[in-house]
Structures are given as structure tokens and as C-alpha cells.
Amino acid sequence: MTPGFILLVILALAVAGWFAGRAKAAAFPRATGAARAHSLPSQHGWFVAIWAAAPALIFLAVWAAVVPGLTLNEVLRAPAASALPAFPMERAAILSQARALSAGQTMPELHPLAASLASVWGAAATRYGMIGLALAALLAFAGGAWAWTRLSPRFRARTRVERIVMGALLGASLIAILTTLGIVASLLFESLRFFSRVSPLDFLFGTLWSPQSGDEGTFGAVPLFWGTIFIGAIIAMLVAIPLGLLSAIYLTQYAPPAARRWLKPILEVLAGVPTVVYGYFAALTVAPAIRGFAATLGIPGASSESALAAGLVMGVMIIPFVSSMADDSIAAVPQSMRDGSLAMGATTSETIRRVLVPAALPGVVGGVLLAVSRAIGETMIVVMAAGLAANLTANPFSSVTTVTTQIVQLLTGDQEFDSAKTLAAFALGLVLFIVTLLLNIVALRVVKKYREAYE
């Protein structure tokens, strides 16, 4: 019995329940005033349909979880199963062959035992499938019938349905939240395993990062943190803040409406460029140009992968982010401020410098913090353009590495899962998560406080 068929049966019963509920409600005596039926016929229908479908679906979910275990038990109790080898892997291989065979798949090298077990497996699966179908159908029918008997002119089907809808919406949001919590928990537990092997102090304050050296490697993450800050929070922001802010000022204050209509979407296209495209732009175009430039200036330590190349391109990527936050903040400063300043005889640029930008500053700062949190979590550009050498240097022409680059490096390729190397990736991820979370919280607070100031 396929789950699809059982779902169809439940759905059919729910539809039948809907019509039955509506028909019963439609037959209520017509009256006016206080004697009028509380809910519309279709609302009664929905009440019955939900009661038919929901318990049966919940049962089906639980049933689907326990059936494989029950089936396996049944197969193992069969006489033929006594011949199964005791060695776990071989045993599991034969059983999985039997299951695949019973599901109708064909395979070349079949173990003889699997063939005999397959029929047992098939019989058990069919039986449990039938039981499941019967129970689900019974539950759907019972639920629907119970709901149907409750219908009366005074019954508040409308309120009930509303409550169930609210429950469903709550469930949807809970799934998102629980998933996030699950991710955080897995990060946390794997990090704890890492910290049981490597001291957190060595990790957070050590200046030598060499995960491949020796058996256990050396995990001093300071060069990674520095590289991340150097590229994401310093070089990228030196590009993004001035360009983003100035373009926002031009777009909100100087651009004629027609120009604004064209320029703003074009600027926002920058945000839609896939980061991998920025990545090869940085690696293939910008980085060689910078190396050549550094070489002509005679700057030592210029490499083909440089902090400057990654930072500059990342800054360009962040421009629309900063500019749209700044645009919002400046546009949120009331027109009356601008008028007040102009009426004092201030020029447009004086008004911008002395009134609009200071008034919009908290919003701009919030936007910049969000941009920083975006930049330090950015992966593709730095993987392609920043390099892997964990240098602790302030020379923008040399290669540095970042937290995200190293996470990619530690987890790609064949790795044993519980080595310190792999676990280090989780610890790095945890640090990155905590930092971006804090940045986001602070930024949203700043922005919110600023919004309140004008409302």
C-alpha cells in the first residue's frame, strides 16, 4: 500500500466530510436575529473536513515512523532469517537487498538468502500497509463523523476553524524556529567536542593556524579573525561606505526623478549578481591587476591572491546594501527638516551635511553594521581571491585567509568526521555565527531606535 494512496483516501474522506458538513448546515432552519445560525454552511464543512483529515494525517506520520521497525521484526522472526550471518555489515547488506527486491527493484549479484527473505518482507510490508490504510481511514471517518454530529445552528464552527488555522500558522513558524535552534545546537555540540581536544584559549588567541601539521594540527585562529576583519570590515567598508553613502545622497537629494527611476534599479542589480561571479571577477581580473600594480611600485610580498583584491570586490558587492539603507534613512528624515534648513538660507549641500546626514546617521550606522555582518560571512569571493595562507599581516597586497575560506577548506574533500580538523570548522562556524548575530542585534536596535525618533 503506497503512502500516496493512503493520502488520497484521507483526502477523499475529508472532501466528503466537507460536503456532508455543509449539507447538514445548509438544512438548518432559516431564521433571523438571535436564532440565526452562528456560522455559514461552508464553515461547518471546513470544520468536518479538518476533523476528518488532521487526526488521520498525524496518525499516518507516526505510523510511517514505526512501520519499518515492525516489518523488520517480522522478517527476522521468519524461519529463513535464522540462516542470516551474525556479522552486522553482511547481515545488513542482505536485508537491504531483500527490501529492495520486495519493492520491485532488480539487481545483479543477489545473495540467495535475500531472495527468500524478499517474499517475507513483501508480505509483511503489504500487511502493515493494509493495517495502516484501515486505521487511517477509520480515524478519518471517526473524526469526520464525530465533528459532523456536533454541528448545530448554535455551534461556532467559524470560531473553531479560525482557531485551527491559527494553530497551523503557529506550527509553520515553529518549524522555522526549531530548525534554526537545531542548527545552532549542532554547531554548539560539535564545537564542544573540538574544545575538548583544543583549548578554547589556544583557539581564540593563538597566532599560528596550521591544521595540516602533525597528527593533531595547530589551531590558533587569530590570523583567520584578522583576515576576516581586514577584508570584510576594513577594506570592503572603505569602498562601500563612501560610495554607498554618496550615491544615496545623490539619489535622494540631487537626482531628478527620471534619473532616480533609472539609476536606483541599476545600482540594485549589483546586489543580484551571484557572489561566485564576483569571485572570479576578483580572482581573474582584479587580483592580477593589483599584483601588477604592486610590482611596478616595488612593494614586497605582492601575491596573486591579495586581501586588497578580495576586499575591493567585496566592497563593490556591498555598495547597494549600504546605499539602500542610507537611502531609506535619509528619506525617513522629514521634509520639514530640509525645509527648515533651506528656509534659514542654507544651501543644499549645507543642508545635507549639517542636517540630513547627522539626522540619518543612526540609520546609516545600523546599515553599515548589517553590511559588515554580511561581508564577514561572505564566502565565495574570499575563497577565490583571498588565498589560504594564514598570514598575520597588515599589507593589503599579501595573501590572507578568512574564517569562511578555512571552513570550506576544512570540510571539502574526504575527511574523517571526528578529526580535530573537521571539528575546527564547527568552532569557526560558531564564532562567525555569534559575531554576526551580535552585529545584527545591535544594528537592528540602532535602526529601530532611530525610527522611533521620527514617529
Partner: protein, 269 residues
């Protein structure tokens, strides 16, 4: 009949014993294709407070904003005719709009102090125009302006607090102090009390009395009692035209035009 009333209006436009500070002749204002002001001619005297009254949408605020060229900030607005300040055409290409607005200050309907300290709000204008030669000089300008706006005693101990944290009435007096600080010759007030409670309104009206004579004052108001209380000359606008202009006492007791009479007796508005 039509001729007669036109002549009367022409006589009324002249401020009898008051030297004109600003003169408007045949002013039309267009927003795109829509004409908001039709052929308005009026003199604003130095000694008297002039009130512009009229129903909503009659163009009184629009006309007020032509007097310091604040309509320039609306890209679709177009002004024709002639407006002079001390005989100089303010719409001529030689007129520096920054200087004009320093000479013709404005107070808006809703108090709009900058989100800066009280001190910095008042110091804003003198600072951008370079009126103070040092810290002591600036302190003096700030104190004098706040005193003239009747706010000094209330705020002298908290000059560093934000201007936006004060009450609405105080904010509006701060805006008046801010306008006074650049030593304007004319102050335009666009319904300065419409967002204020009666007590704050009374304070602003008192302030207007005190400022009279030092600055030429033009006030737009919805409130006819207010016009009667604070002004000596009243102009009644209707549908973009100047219907009648004369001494306030005349307008309110003995209007020459039926439309004026209907408006001040509450027939429409």
C-alpha cells in the same frame, strides 16, 4: 461694477501709512498646468503684522512661500509677475536665494527643530552665514535670540538638551528663535499655531506682538480670531485670488466684498 471693485482693491493694496517692505505685482503661481495663484498684487508693510486668511486650498500658504522662494524646492512650481524686497526683484537672476532666505525667515506649520541641542538649533543660521566671530559672540547671539523668542528663562539651564525633546509650543518658539538668530528683515509664519494647544498659542501670539515693528511679519492662519488678535492688516484669499486687503478692523467689521463677509461670518470655510 467690476471696474469699480478693481479700483477699490488697488487702493486697498497700498498699506496706508506703512512703508512697504515687500511688494508683489501681478503674481501668478502654477504647479504644472494648474494655476494656484491668480494675479495677486499686495504690499507687505514694515510696521504692521499682515495676516493672510482664507479657506483651505485658497493659495495663502502657496503665496507666502513665494515671498522667500521656498517654492523653488518644488520642481513643478513656476512663478510669474514681480515680487520685490526693498525694491529689488527677488526672482531676478542676480538675486542670491541663500541671501534672500537669510533676510526673509520662515516659521512652519509644524515645529521642525533639528535633532540637535537647543543651542545648536539657534546657532545653525549664524554658523552657516558666518555671523559670529567667536564662541562668546555666538553665545550672545543665541541668548539674544532665545530672549526675543521668550524662551531664554525656560531653557537657559539646558541649552545642551535636544531641541526635539521640548513641548510643541517650546519647539515652535525655538524655531522662531532660530529664524531670528540670522537677523532677518521679514518673518513669514505659515499657520504657526495650528499644531499647538491654546496656552502655547497664546504665548506665540504674545510673542508676535513683541516682535512687531522690529521685523515685518506675515502670518498665514486658519483661525480668524487669531488674525483679528495679532494683525493690523488682513488679506483674504479665495480660490487663488486676493479678494480683499485692508485694515484688520475694517475687514472684520465692515468688509467690502460679499465673499469676505460670507467667510468671516462662517458661511463657508
Amino acid at each position: 461694477m467690476a471696474d469699480h471693485s478693481l479700483n477699490d482693491m488697488a487702493a486697498g493694496q497700498r498699506a496706508s501709512n506703512d512703508p512697504p517692505k515687500m511688494e508683489a505685482r501681478n503674481v501668478d503661481v502654477f504647479y504644472g498646468a494648474k494655476q494656484a495663484i491668480k494675479n495677486v498684487s499686495i504690499d507687505v508693510g514694515m510696521e504692521n503684522v499682515t495676516a493672510f486668511i482664507g479657506p483651505s486650498g485658497c493659495g495663502k500658504s502657496t503665496f507666502l512661500r513665494t515671498l522667500n522662494r521656498m517654492n523653488d524646492t518644488v520642481s513643478s512650481a513656476r512663478v510669474t509677475g514681480e515680487i520685490t524686497l526693498d525694491g529689488d526683484d527677488i526672482y531676478s537672476p542676480e538675486m542670491d536665494v541663500v541671501q534672500l532666505r537669510a533676510r526673509v525667515g520662515m516659521v512652519f506649520q509644524k515645529p521642525n527643530p533639528f535633532p540637535k541641542s537647543i543651542y545648536e538649533n539657534v546657532a545653525y543660521g549664524p554658523r552657516i552665514h558666518g555671523l559670529a566671530s567667536g564662541k562668546a559672540d555666538m553665545d550672545a547671539i543665541v541668548e539674544k535670540s532665545l530672549r526675543r523668542a521668550g524662551l531664554w528663562d525656560e531653557v537657559k539651564d539646558r541649552l545642551s538638551e535636544s531641541g526635539t525633546a521640548m513641548s510643541g509650543g517650546q519647539q515652535q518658539r525655538l524655531c522662531i528663535a532660530r529664524a531670528i538668530a540670522v537677523e532677518p528683515e521679514v518673518i513669514l509664519m505659515d499657520e504657526p499655531c495650528s499644531a499647538l494647544d491654546p496656552i502655547a498659542t497664546a504665548k506665540i501670539e504674545e510673542l508676535i506682538h513683541e516682535l512687531r515693528g522690529r521685523y515685518a511679519i506675515v502670518i498665514v492662519t486658519h483661525n480668524m480670531q487669531q488674525a483679528a488678535r495679532v494683525s493690523q492688516r488682513t488679506a483674504f484669499f479665495h480660490l487663488g485670488t486676493l479678494v480683499e486687503y485692508g485694515d484688520t478692523s475694517e475687514i472684520f467689521t465692515n468688509p467690502r466684498e460679499t465673499r469676505t463677509k460670507d467667510y468671516i461670518t462662517g458661511r463657508y470655510g
